[in-house]
């Protein structure tokens, strides 16, 4: 494989057998102004009067024309409660179909079984945002011949629209669906809220199969998220998933003193910059610290009577409270972290359901992350150039997700990364981060419980932070301070002749490579 250095000094391949050609990363907005591609593809029409109801998943797969080497997709809105991916792969395997590209919007902890389907040859390529557990370990150990491709939410949307991901069959779970294929995730016994990723795939897949455990009379009311004209088949099953496992458990406000201290520092920084003002827009991750920051911001907005414009996400219950109290005019929801978000979508007209292209695709007429004032995101680790890793663990194994991290960071006027100084005895700040997912130029500040480091590119923020007497520290000083407690870690034994994952930036260029871990 021919490797070149990208603008961050990371080696990335230009040509990968089984995947194709790639360009190296040249900057967060290097591709701005270039034309966006939209691919055309052939798809079956459904003749007038033909029933779309298919008896079971197996028959639906046969009807879809799925064969060896094709690409299948799923949304991950049911997160850890999803049952659909396993049901479908099981039938695919029993039909003897092999060598597929699995291209879900992401894989969660409950999708570890994908490892078995890789080993049995059903899946030979994976395109995903996140990967962890047994399947993450399998990929990190180099058991797949072709490297996986990790994309951000905005990047996947762009890739689908331009045809880099060419979905043959999309299997879309819906918590309510009628017999024409009008579907939604906003209500029903297995409601999961926004079906944003599903909306994207439904538009761009050659064949769309709706899978529901709640078949209702036509027309679906009171809300249709994906309309029938995009859907080929409808399959009713006993259960699409367990919505109680959907909430990642991070919707509670943290009580950890350390996390609250980090949150307080982040809030003080945001306040000092003076950006919480009428029309303020905000995105926060779903982690404990982010939710705590949201609470501090909420109190500030309430006390000062400030009305913001919109909240973006990753929408959680606490964001909706802000919406319903009139502190935000709108909430844009590409994925709900709480099953109750469906209720909110039904009763709050400005709880908008959006697809990931609207959310974060940098190559369209203006995605929502580009409108953001502030985003507060987490990190696995960081380096002194402010690059962020949210993908690989300290042991070198794949155990995270690109998500909307680089999308939100690039777009926000103030992008703040919150992280504890060290986790489990290992420093969060390194000289060089193991895997770059978000480039340092997109990160304005890093906030820990031991201090705040401001990106030297943002002297304006530095001045305001110093004026407010915040605990500002030079990032190298902060790193040294933390290292004096944790010590330096020993290098991971990577086999650099074997890339196992390509990290694609939102514009399609390669920002980093993940290598095999020698055990």
């Amino acid at each position: 494989m021919n490797m070149v250095k990208n603008s961050l000094g990371r080696l990335v391949p230009t040509e990968v057998p089984g995947l194709g050609n790639f360009r190296p990363f040249e900057g967060a907005f290097a591709m701005a102004g270039t034309k966006a591609k939209h691919c055309a593809f052939e798809t079956d029409a459904v003749p007038r009067g033909k029933s779309k109801i298919t008896a079971d998943i197996r028959t639906a797969i046969i009807n879809s024309g799925l064969s060896d080497g094709m690409t299948i997709s799923f949304h991950h809105h049911l997160r850890n409660g999803d049952k659909v991916l396993e049901m479908v792969l099981k039938e695919i395997e029993s039909l003897g179909i092999r060598d597929l590209t699995l291209a879900p919007s992401s894989l969660s902890d409950s999708h570890e079984f994908v490892a078995d389907y890789v080993r049995s040859g059903v899946v030979s390529r994976i395109y995903t945002s996140g990967i962890r557990g047994r399947i993450g370990n399998l990929v990190s150990r180099g058991e797949m011949e072709i490297p996986i491709v990790v994309r951000s939410h905005g990047g996947r949307a762009r890739a689908i629209e331009e045809g880099s991901i060419s979905i043959d069959v999309a299997f879309l779970a819906a918590s309510a669906c009628d017999d024409r294929g009008n579907m939604t995730g906003s209500f029903g016994p297995s409601a999961f809220g926004s079906i944003g990723y599903g909306m994207q795939d439904a538009r761009s897949a050659r064949h769309v199969v709706a899978i529901t455990d709640n078949l209702v009379p036509f027309p679906l009311t009171p809300k249709i998220s994906i309309h029938q004209h995009l859907v080929h088949q409808v399959v009713a099953v006993d259960s699409i998933g367990d919505p109680d496992k959907l909430a990642t458990g991070a919707v509670r406000i943290t009580r950890s003193p350390q996390q609250l201290e980090i949150a307080r520092n982040a809030y003080e920084l945001i306040k000092s910059v003076g950006i919480i003002r009428p029309g303020f827009s905000y995105q926060a991750g779903a982690g404990g610290v982010s939710i705590a920051v949201t609470q501090y911001i909420k109190k500030h907005m309430t006390d000062k009577g400030i009305q913001g414009s919109f909240a973006l996400g990753g929408i959680t219950g606490d964001m909706i409270k802000l919406l319903e109290e009139g502190l935000f005019k709108a909430a844009y929801d590409v994925q709900s972290f709480d099953p109750k978000m469906g209720d909110s979508m039904l009763r709050n007209p400005t709880h908008y359901e959006i697809d990931p292209s609207c959310y974060a695709n940098p190559m369209n007429c203006g995605c929502m992350t580009h409108e953001l004032d502030v985003c507060v995101l987490g990190a696995l680790d960081l380096d002194v150039d402010f690059n962020v890793n949210v993908l690989t663990g300290h042991d070198g194994y794949l155990r995270g997700a690109s998500g909307g991290h680089c999308d939100a960071s690039a777009g926000a006027k103030l992008a703040i990364i919150v992280a504890p100084s060290f986790r489990n005895g290992v420093s969060s700040i390194k000289k060089q981060v193991q895997t770059v997912v978000t480039p340092g130029e997109s990160v304005d500040a890093i906030v820990t419980e031991r201090g705040i480091s401001i990106n030297p590119r943002r002297q304006d923020i530095l001045e305001m932070a110093l004026k407010a007497n915040l605990p500002v520290k030079d990032i190298e000083d902060l790193r040294k301070e933390i290292i004096s407690l944790t010590g330096e870690t020993e290098p991971i034994d990577f086999d650099e002749s074997k890339p196992v994952a390509l990290v694609e930036y939102r514009d399609g260029t390669l920002i980093d490579t993940v290598y095999k871990v020698r055990s």
């Binding site: 944790t486 020993e490 991971i492």
Partner: protein
């Protein structure tokens, strides 16, 4: 010298167990074992030397502890093993 242990399985703590032995050996059980292997070995050897021990079998179950926390627990385990005050 008798077998002894110190520490807890609480978050960011470690349990250090020591036993008499012919040589200095270490069993390091941890999510961090690949990135702090050398550090932990050096720590155990240095400490054994300081206590004048030619041989000691050390087992460290590390739950994300900082290096000096492991050091503290190891010292206490050794002192208890050598008959130090555990009361």
């Amino acid at each position: 010298m008798i077998s002894s242990k110190s520490g807890t399985d609480g978050k960011c703590d470690c349990i250090v167990t020591v036993e008499p032995a012919e040589s200095v050996t270490l069993e390091y059980v941890s999510k961090n074992s690949s990135i702090y292997a050398k550090r932990t070995e050096d720590l155990v050897r240095r400490t054994a030397l300081r206590y004048g021990l030619n041989g000691i079998k050390v087992k460290i179950e590390d739950f994300g502890a900082l290096g000096f926390v492991i050091q503290a627990r190891l010292e206490t385990a050794i002192e208890r093993a050598l008959g130090g005050a555990a009361r």
